[in-house]
C-alpha cells in the first residue's frame, strides 16, 4: 500500500476481511486492517488508536458481537462501529444498541456501505478525499489507480485510466481529439489523434451500457464527460 502508515485505521472483522468490504474500503481510500479476534485488537492497533470498525456478524455472530463488546469495553472505547447482519438477524440488534453506531445488511451492497462510511466518518478520518474523483456512480482513486462504477471495479489499461481520469476531472467540458492526445498521451503515438477514438470506444464498452453515455461525442468537435454545464 502507501509508503507511510496512515495514523488512524479501521478494524475489520473477520480476518480475512469479506471481499466486498475490503474492495469498498480500498476503492474509497479508507485504510484498514483485518482482525481475527478481540485478543489481537490491542496488538494490531495503530499508534493513534482505531478510528472505527466494521464487524461482520452475519457469518459468526457470536465472535462478531464479542468483538463489538471488546471495542466498547476498552478504557478508550472505539466509536463508529458498523455491524453487518443478515435480514434474519435484525432482531439481534435489539438490546445491543450500545454496541454499534450503524448497521448494514449482509450481503453488503458496496454503494450502501460506502454511503454509511462516508456519513459516519465525514471530516473525521484521514481519508485523502483529494485523491478521489467521483461523478455519479463512477469513482476513481488516483492514489491507488483503481476505478469503479456502481461499486464494481473496472479493469482498465493505463491509457484508458488516464483518459477517464482526465475527462472525469473536467466534467461538462468539451475536448477535441488533439487536445486529449496532447494532454493525456503527451507524446507521439503510432495512432495519432484517432487513438483517442479507439480508447473512447473501449472505455464506453467497459463502463457498460448503463454508463456508456457518461462520455458523449460532440459532433465534429470531440468528447465531453458528463452533463454539459449549460443544460
Amino acid at each position: 500500500m502507501s509508503d507511510h502508515e496512515p495514523d488512524r485505521m479501521l478494524a475489520v472483522f473477520p480476518d480475512p476481511a469479506p471481499i466486498d468490504v475490503a474492495r469498498t474500503l480500498d476503492l474509497s481510500g479508507y485504510p484498514w486492517k483485518a482482525v481475527k479476534s478481540g485478543e489481537v485488537l490491542d496488538k494490531l492497533e495503530p499508534g493513534s488508536g482505531w478510528a472505527g470498525a466494521i464487524v461482520d456478524c452475519s457469518q459468526d455472530p457470536e465472535s462478531g458481537w464479542a468483538i463489538c463488546r471488546a471495542l466498547r469495553r476498552r478504557e478508550d472505547p472505539v466509536g463508529r462501529v458498523i455491524v453487518l447482519v443478515t435480514g434474519a438477524q435484525l432482531p439481534d440488534l435489539e438490546m445491543r444498541d450500545d454496541l454499534f453506531d450503524d448497521f448494514c445488511l449482509a450481503p453488503v451492497h458496496p454503494r450502501e456501505l460506502d454511503s454509511r462510511l462516508r456519513h459516519l466518518f465525514y471530516a473525521d478520518l484521514a481519508v485523502s478525499h483529494e485523491s478521489l474523483i467521483e461523478y455519479s456512480d463512477l469513482v476513481l482513486n488516483t492514489e491507488t489507480y483503481q476505478a469503479s462504477v456502481g461499486g464494481k471495479p473496472l479493469d482498465l489499461t493505463y491509457m484508458e485510466y488516464e483518459l477517464l481520469k482526465f475527462l472525469a476531472q473536467n466534467p461538462g467540458k468539451v475536448f477535441s481529439r488533439e487536445v486529449l492526445l496532447s494532454r493525456v498521451w503527451g507524446y507521439e503515438y503510432f495512432g495519432g489523434a484517432r487513438t483517442v477514438d479507439v480508447h473512447i470506444r473501449r472505455l464506453r464498452a467497459k463502463l457498460g451500457e448503463e454508463h456508456a453515455n457518461l462520455i458523449e461525442t460532440v459532433r465534429s468537435v470531440g468528447y465531453r464527460f458528463g452533463q454539459s454545464r449549460w443544460n
Binding site: 500500500m1 480500498d26 491507488t144 489507480y145 483503481q146 471495479p153 479493469d155 489499461t157 493505463y158 491509457m159 484508458e160 485510466y161 488516464e162 481529439r177 488533439e178 498521451w185 503527451g186 507524446y187 507521439e188 503515438y189 503510432f190 495512432g191 495519432g192 489523434a193 484517432r194 487513438t195 479507439v198 470506444r201 473501449r202 464498452a205 467497459k206
Partner: protein
C-alpha cells in the same frame, strides 16, 4: 532500457505506466503475470512471473533462452530480453478472480537492449516507424472467420456443431452463445467488436473488429485467437483458425480493411474522384497489386492456406481490384454516406492463421512502395473474374496469386521488398522453415491419391 521513439515527456509517461501496472498488480491481488510475445510463425508464447518480479521486469526486462522459440535465436546468441509494454497490461477476465492473472505483451530485445531481429512485434514497430517518418499512421480492421468443431482426436474429421449459414439466427445453438460470450470477453480486454455473425459455412463464424493502429491490432489479433479458443474450450468445443478445414464449403479468411491517415486526414479519400479515392490510395493499391504475389507466403503461410485460395468460394485468386467485386484481391468498399473517414481499402487474401505482425508489415510496405514509386493503378476489374477464361484474363493482364505454398515461397525468395521489410533474420528463417513444411507435405501420400490411383493405375 531503450525507449522507442519517445521524448522526455514520453519517458516520464513510461514511469507512470509502470507505476500504474505495479499498483494494479497489488490492488487487484494479481497472483501471476503472463509475459506474452509471438514467434516467427505467429504462435503466441508466454511465460509467467510472480508479482514480486514485475517491477524488475518493467525496469530491466526478463532474460530468457530464445533458442527454444521458433525463429528466434541462433545458438551462439540464444539469450534474449523480454521487455513488457506496460500499456498492454490487462487483467485476464476468464481467470478465477481468487487467483487473478494478468498479461502484458513484450518486445524482444538483445541483451544490449537493441531490438531483436527475430521478434515479429519489433519488425512491425520498425515498419510503422518508417511509415511515421513519411507522416503516415496505418490503421487496420480485420474481419476474422473461424470454425467451431467437436474437439478433434487424432485422425478424426472435423465435425461441425451446427448447420446454420450466413446471417442465420440459430439462437438455440451453443455456438451463438459461445460467440456472444467471446465478444463480451473481447470487449473487457479492450478489443472493440464491430459486427459478428454466422458465416456461410456450417459452424463458421465471423467477428469484425473496429480499426485501431496496426500495432495494437496485431496484439489484438493474438489476444482474439486465444480468447476464441479459451472460451470454446471452457464449453468443450474446439475453435480453429485453419484456413480451409472443410472441403466443398468456404474457408476462413481474415479480410483486412486498411486505412492511412496523415495529420488526422484520411489520405485515401478524395471526394472529387469518381471512386472517392485519392491518388495516394491508387498508388497504395497499385503497390499491393504489384507486390501481392511476393507477400502471399507471409499472408497465407500454411500448405492448407492455398486450398482456400481456389475459385468458387469468395476467396480471391486473381490479382485485381474493384469496388464491389468480391472475386478481386483488393476491394474498395462503397461508402454508406459520403464520409471521408470511412474510405478504406480491403485486402482479401490473408487468412486468420497468419502472423499478424508480419502480415501487416508486408502489406504496409507494399502499399508504401506504391506511393513512393508512384505506381500506376491498373483499370478496375468489375466483372466476375471466376467466370473468365485464361485467355481473357491474359488479355486484361490479370495474373493469379501463387497457387501453392511452393509457388509463393519461390516468388517471395526473389523479393527485395519482403527481405527488407522482414529483415534478413526472419526472411531467411521463414523461407527455411516453410520449405521444410512444403517438403513434408510433398512427400505425403494422401487418401485422395490412393482413392484415385491405387486401383486404376
Amino acid at each position: 532500457m531503450p525507449v522507442l521513439g519517445v521524448g522526455e515527456k514520453g519517458v516520464e509517461m513510461i514511469e507512470q505506466q509502470r507505476d500504474y501496472v505495479l499498483r494494479t498488480v497489488e490492488e487487484r491481488g494479481i497472483r501471476l503475470v503472463r509475459l506474452w510475445f509471438t514467434d516467427v510463425l505467429g504462435n503466441l508464447k508466454s511465460f509467467a512471473i510472480s508479482p514480486a518480479e514485475m517491477e524488475n521486469a518493467l525496469n530491466d526486462g526478463m532474460i530468457f533462452d530464445g533458442s527454444a522459440i521458433d525463429g528466434f535465436s541462433r545458438v551462439q546468441e540464444s539469450d534474449v530480453l523480454a521487455l513488457p509494454d506496460a500499456n498492454t497490461f490487462e487483467v485476464l477476465p476468464w481467470v478465477d478472480p481468487k487467483g487473478a492473472e494478468a498479461r502484458v505483451f513484450c518486445d524482444i530485445a538483445k541483451l544490449d537492449g537493441t531490438a531483436f531481429d527475430g521478434d515479429p512485434r519489433q519488425v512491425l514497430r520498425r515498419n510503422l516507424n518508417a511509415a511515421r517518418e513519411m507522416g503516415y499512421q496505418f490503421y487496420v480492421a480485420p474481419d476474422i472467420e473461424y470454425f467451431y468443431f467437436d474437439p478433434p482426436t487424432v485422425d478424426s474429421k472435423p465435425i461441425p456443431l451446427d448447420e446454420g449459414s450466413f446471417f442465420d439466427l440459430t439462437s438455440s445453438d451453443i455456438t451463438s452463445s459461445l460467440r456472444k460470450e467471446t465478444i463480451r470477453t473481447l470487449e473487457t480486454m479492450s478489443i472493440p467488436v464491430e459486427y459478428s455473425f454466422h458465416e456461410d459455412s456450417p459452424s463458421q463464424h465471423e467477428i469484425d473488429l473496429r480499426q485501431t493502429d496496426a500495432l495494437t491490432m496485431a496484439d489484438s489479433v493474438m489476444t482474439f485467437r486465444l480468447v476464441v479458443k479459451e472460451i470454446a474450450a471452457l464449453h468443450k468445443v474446439h475453435a480453429t483458425f485453419m484456413p480451409k478445414p472443410l472441403e466443398g464449403v468456404q474457408g476462413s479468411g481474415m479480410h483486412l480493411h486498411l486505412y492511412l491517415f496523415k495529420d488526422e486526414q484520411n489520405v485515401f479519400h478524395d471526394g472529387e474522384d469518381q471512386y472517392n479515392l485519392s491518388s495516394t490510395a491508387k498508388h497504395f493499391i497499385a503497390g499491393l497489386l504489384r507486390h501481392a504475389a511476393e507477400i502471399t507466403a507471409v499472408t497465407n503461410q500454411n500448405v492448407n492456406s492455398y486450398k482456400r485460395l481456389v475459385p468458387g468460394f469468395e476467396a480471391p485468386i486473381h490479382i485485381s481490384w474493384a469496388r464491389n467485386n468480391r472475386s478481386g484481391l483488393v476491394r474498395v468498399p462503397v461508402q454508406k454516406r459520403n464520409s471521408d473517414q470511412a474510405t478504406r481499402i480491403e485486402y482479401r487474401s490473408p487468412d486468420p492463421a497468419c502472423n499478424p505482425y508480419l502480415a501487416f508489415s508486408v502489406i504496409l510496405a507494399a502499399g508504401l512502395r506504391g506511393i513512393k514509386e508512384q505506381y500506376e493503378l491498373p483499370p478496375e476489374a468489375d466483372s466476375n473474374l471466376f467466370e473468365m477464361g485464361d485467355d481473357m484474363l491474359a488479355k486484361l493482364g490479370i495474373e493469379q496469386l501463387p497457387q501453392s505454398m511452393s509457388d509463393a515461397l519461390h516468388v517471395m525468395e526473389r523479393s527485395e521488398l519482403v527481405a527488407e521489410t522482414l529483415g534478413e533474420h526472419i526472411f531467411e528463417w521463414f523461407l527455411r522453415n516453410k520449405r521444410a513444411e512444403w517438403r513434408g507435405y510433398k512427400t505425403h501420400i494422401s487418401q485422395y491419391e490412393l482413392n484415385r490411383y491405387l486401383r486404376s493405375l
